[in-house]
Amino acid sequence: MYISKKFISRRTVLRGAGAAIALPLLDAMIPAATALADTAAAPMPRMGFIYFPHGAVMKSWVPEQTGTGYTMSPILKPLEPYRSKLTIVSGLRNKGGESSDPHGIMAGTWLSCYGIKDRKDDLGTTADQLAARKFGAGTPLPSLELTGEGGAATCSQSGGGCGYGSTTAFRTPFQPLPMEDNPRKVFFTLFGQGDDTKERKQILGETGSLLDYAMEQGKDLDTRIGAADRARLSDYLDSVREVEQRVQRLATSKSMTMDLPNAPEGIPDQFADEVGALFDLIALAWQTGQTRVASMMIAKEISMRTYPNLQITEAFHPLSHHGNDPDKLAKLVQIQNYHTQLFAKFIDKLAKMPDGDGTMLDHAIILYGSNMSNSDLHNNDPLPNAVLGGGYGRITGGQHLHYPQDTPHANLLLTLLNRAGVETPSLGNSTGQFAEL
């Protein structure tokens, strides 16, 4: 493995030689970056969709009481400080995620609430991508897709391919958006290649002419291939168009004049550093206005990760088949609590990040959850769901809502989209919205 970076930035000494590749990105950024103030009449929230695999031990996730005065549950404990910006939504079911091929389609159906068969129109497009269509129009990047665990994909065993197992983001019902685990690549995607403003501008110019060329050549290729191939090439041409737009927006983006920190060096060795770096990049992207929508998987389906820092040497997935063994359940709660801790650090940064007339947390809408309930049974009912952020005052917060058996998970997604200002009549198998939220 090697990592390469140029040391031409004025802020050269972010970390000493040989130190772990932890990323004090934000800490370096906050003083330098000017927060993107949203002064429009209808400000657009940032939307985040943070997924963890293998469900949750529900009795340790769902608080015993509902309403405002509930006692925080063990898994959600790290979010206690942000209680007023937290809404726990219990009792929901996602029929769209039900199959005999659980892990293979779990991630891909979380935000679409629609099975992998009979997809058409927008049935299968995910909530984050519906948001990206609206919010992406003014940002260099419509959305950001990240994963805390790379490596081999998790694949559907029943013919759905690997897309449904490895990403929560579907641009169309048939186009999974791969999730990136390398913070360095994410940084360059957000801000462009290059190590300082001059180099960024120069490379951006070169990229622009390469894209024009790619488009022209793609169109030429289009005339020489068959109808069936044309559908595949249209993804290419659409992508060229989108990246061209991105390049144009990036060229005029505020980030081009900012003194950005050095790009991360690569994938950190430690899980906490990796997840932390990706969360930092989401926060940075929101702060600098590179995108408004982000989705992320903290770990992947069928994750074989062990948690030596918690003294857990069994791999996550086998452990998730707990068989109601108290020892295994206790370890799972420990892992799930740990994931919440990593997430809470992200929330903490947002709570401290000024954004216009408030903080980034005041203006964001973030869903934290999984498409599985009991990992031993692979069921999708009831799902663990927590909503963070005030969404410009459009989300009440501070309460635990418990909906009756079989209330669709899609209703929550539909509610969040509409509250964010993405007018959406329905999503997947939704039946309505939650006024209580």
Binding site: S209, G226, R232, N379
Partner: protein, 818 residues
């Protein structure tokens, strides 16, 4: 065959009574002993098998699995290839009829399979369908190989491009290789990065590159790839952007005031292309004393010997090493502290990382391997030569990159890039811009098998010679066609069978055919999963941490497979060969004490348990959990990856195995699985899966031999059974049983190779081609050359079909047998 149809139709209509039917079977079985009569016996069994064994569930009332055979007849076979191929597979894998139902005996089953395959092959012969791959983009491994062949530099594709979505266990399936904006963004950026790296840059800003020791190693001994006479250390091939000064900084070795690992001298040497450029020594009596007396100051002074080491290097890739001189045991105390697996103190220092900074005072870019490759055609000596030479250089590389002759239109666009760069900064910059455009061009990114002129849907046509050249080279090299293939395509001669045979042999003899082993093989055998199986260090200290064997395991299987292919062995050698490749670490893991050193060598295995793939550590580990063996995973592995009859996925809501609990009497995995199989919903599949895995229980989750279960303290029982009932007592018997009928294995490998070679999932209409290839390869014992040549000569490889809109099957069968 109208007679046959009549007979069978008659049987379907007439044979309804179970008694009659049973009588019919007894006759059929009794009549057929010699293999020669299989076909005749098959006809006698024929379609009536369905009513005898299948329609109890697969009927128009129950629609089990969405299939009703009572509504079909033999005539419907050609219109229901998917269902019928699944029937064959389910029967081959003994997955149908399910346990507890009436079963055909072995001979009847074989006879029916043979009969059905005959029908399917007949249907295939009447309506040959080579399918359609469509537009196929390079995946990132192919991209890296293409860049290596075009520009002469090695790149790490994972650092430049997003992950490719695999399908059907392969990462080169066209339909799964999508283009998203984030892919395109990274792909365009990669084009630029790669060309800059290949051409060098005399104006390069100083940059630092950090290399870390990622190979698990104690650094106690000599490492493969490092100079002889050294121990430990890190070797890299570093790409120096320009001729100039560079600075080396090695990570601190004196870490603290506590004198740890500093007792003895550790003589350090730095080499550039094998020549020592710097030597020092860390530790020993003087350093000890200094640390003891001066503390911080001394630590700093010692580490300073590892810093700011200046040297001169020319541009291009150079082999760069930081390592320790190895001292003989007489002068060294290295091994006095015993080697403790997975930990312990051993009193030597290690190179954990170093970084190279530069260039400073760059003087230019001298000749490098990459530049020699790029400017093979010419390099201008005068201004007048510049444009003609640029034309030549760019056209030559574009031809290779696009896999076809370059047109005027191609050159027009590329020369525009050249002109822009030339105006800004001269000839080299012009070439750099144009080559970047070559890599950004969709004609490099995509391959297509579309016909030269539009043809009506459903037309079957031979792919043109350029498409064929690419198919061939991406199959056998995972890379672009070379000049010889392109020249043959230009001459229109590549498709001639004699020429194709010659080219297969030539491509296989080339070192690049290693991709069949390290790319195809690793995916087929699921070794790509190893990085995720992090062996539990508390249970397997001998195979985790610094004793991690996973990279070695992959290397062993790669060399093992490559050796068989390169020496034109039989594909069956994959299952049976007594030879393998080991270094000292693997040898010790295999209880072989006669191998020394880090480098791999071919040895003959005395212990027959280790013969063939099923005795390899990598295979045994890829089918285990990080903390224990899994007969289920191993059984499923054999069924899926060796025999090609994957078991169905488990139903939802399956209770998992209970793990051993502290304080309770420990049980073996086998005992726990036996509990599991008692549950009726588990029995029918697990009775076929688990017993295969049991035969490999003599190997632990890391592939080390064991005779006792460490928790239950009972002897390992490796008694197992194949789905057809054959009892196998140990790995030797399992291997023998698998080899007794080699066809399922060879057929499965052929299917996997076809999927890989075409870049599409093998479908029902491919199976007649597959079976024909297997039959044609039997004569010389399934030699690799023969099998691969037969694949290439098959119409499935040489032809394509213009896609047509999907048609409804004659009879509505939902065809979702799982």
């Amino acid at each position: 065959m109208p007679g046959v149809f009549l007979v069978n139709d008659f049987r379907i209509n007439a044979v309804l009574g179970a008694g009659l039917l049973a009588a019919g079977f007894c006759q059929a079985v009794a009549a057929a002993d010699a293999p020669a009569t299989t076909a005749a016996r098959g006809n006698a069994v024929g379609w009536s098998m369905f009513s005898a064994y299948c329609t109890e569930c697969h009927n128009t009332d129950d629609w089990a699995g969405g299939v009703a055979f009572d509504a079909m007849s033999e005539r419907d076979i050609p219109d229901n290839l998917d269902v019928m191929e699944k029937v064959v597979r389910k029967l081959r894998g003994q997955q149908m009829p399910p346990g507890g139902h009436k079963m055909p005996d072995k001979a009847t089953r074989a006879a029916f399979i043979s009969w059905m395959e005959g029908r399917l092959d007949q249907a295939g012969a009447q309506h040959e369908d080579p399918g359609n791959v469509g537009l196929r983009r390079l995946n990132r491994k192919e991209y890296a190989n293409a860049v290596r062949d075009l520009l002469g530099i090695d790149i790490d594709p994972a650092a430049l491009l997003p992950r490719d979505e695999p399908r059907d266990g392969l990462d080169n399936i066209a339909a799964a290789l999508q283009v998203t904006p984030s892919f395109l963004d990274q792909y365009i950026a990669a084009a630029r990065t790669v060309v800059v790296a290949a051409m060098g840059n005399k104006d390069a800003l100083p940059a630092s590159t950090t290399y870390r020791a990622t190979k698990p190693s104690t650094q106690l001994f000599h490492e493969d790839g490092l100079p002889f006479g050294t121990r430990g250390g890190i070797a890299v091939d570093h790409n120096f952007p320009a001729d100039g000064e560079y600075v080396l900084n090695i990570a601190n070795m004196a870490q603290a005031l506590w004198v740890y690992n500093m007792e003895f001298e550790n003589p350090l040497v730095v080499t550039l292309d094998g020549k020592p450029i710097y030597e020092t020594s860390i530790g020993g009596e003087e350093d000890m004393k200094a640390i003891d007396q001066k503390q911080d100051v001394a630590v700093e002074a010692i580490n300073k010997r590892l810093k700011d080491i200046r040297f001169h290097a020319t541009a291009g890739v150079h082999h760069f090493v930081v390592a320790f001189r190895h001292r003989s045991f007489a002068e060294s105390e290295d091994r006095l502290q015993m080697y403790a697996p997975g930990g312990g103190q051993d009193r030597v220092l290690r190179v954990t990382s170093f970084d190279i900074k530069g260039p400073f005072n760059a003087t230019g870019v001298s000749q490098t391997a990459a530049r020699r490759r790029i400017f093979a055609a010419c390099y201008p000596k005068a201004a007048a030569e510049e444009t003609p030479c640029a034309n030549k250089v760019i056209a030559g590389i574009a031809r290779r990159a696009f896999g076809r002759p370059v047109t005027d239109a191609d050159m027009h666009g590329l020369m525009h890039f050249y002109a822009t760069g030339y105006q800004q900064a001269g000839f080299d910059e012009g070439i750099r811009r144009a080559l970047t455009a070559v890599l950004a061009n969709p004609n490099f990114l995509f391959r297509t098998d579309a016909p030269a002129r539009p043809l009506p849907p459903g037309t079957i046509y031979p792919i043109d010679d350029f498409t064929l050249a690419s198919r061939l080279s991406f199959f056998l090299w995972s890379s672009l066609p070379d000049d010889e293939l392109l020249r043959l395509a230009e001459a229109g001669r590549l498709h001639e069978p004699a020429e194709l045979k010659r080219q297969v042999a030539r491509l296989l003899a080339d070192p690049r055919s290693i991709s069949l082993s390290n790319n195809f093989g690793a995916q087929w055998l699921n070794l790509t999963r190893l990085p995720e199986i992090n062996p539990d260090a508390t249970i397997f200290p001998y195979a985790s941490g610094s004793a991690d064997l996973r990279d070695d395991f992959v290397q062993e299987v790669t060399l093992f497979m490559d050796d068989i292919i390169r020496h034109n062995g039989s594909v069956l050698d994959l299952l049976s060969s007594p030879y393998t490749f080991v270094n000292e670490r693997i040898a010790l893991h295999y209880d072989i004490n006669s191998v020394r050193g880090d480098q791999f060598r071919k040895i003959r295995l005395e212990d027959s348990k280790r013969w063939g793939l099923l005795g390899k550590g990598g295979v045994l580990m890829a089918s285990s959990y990080p903390n224990r063996t899994s007969p289920v995973l191993r059984g499923a592995y054999v069924l899926e990856r060796i025999l090609g009859t994957p078991p169905p996925t488990p139903p939802p809501a399956v209770p998992a195995l209970t793990e051993n609990q502290p304080g309770k009497k420990a049980t073996t995995v086998r005992e726990r699985l036996e509990e599991h199989r008692k549950k009726p919903q588990c029995f029918s599949c697990h009775s076929a899966i688990d017993p295969i895995g049991f035969t490999l229980e003599g190997f632990d989750a890391t592939g080390k031999e064991r005779s006792i279960d460490r928790y239950a303290r009972t002897a390992i029982d490796s008694l197992g059974k194949l789905p057809d009932g054959t009892i196998v007592k140990n790995p030797d018997e399992l291997r023998a049983a698998l080899l007794a009928d080699p066809v399922p294995f060879v057929q499965n490998l052929t299917e996997r190779l076809i999927a890989y070679s075409l870049g599409r999932v093998v479908a029902a209409q491919d199976m007649p081609f597959v079976r024909a290839i297997v039959r044609a390869s039997a004569a010389d014992g399934y030699r690799f050359d023969t099998l691969l040549t037969n694949i290439v000569l098959s119409d499935d490889f040489l032809k394509a079909k213009v896609p047509e809109p999907p048609k409804d099957p004659a009879i509505k069968t939902a065809a979702v047998l799982n």
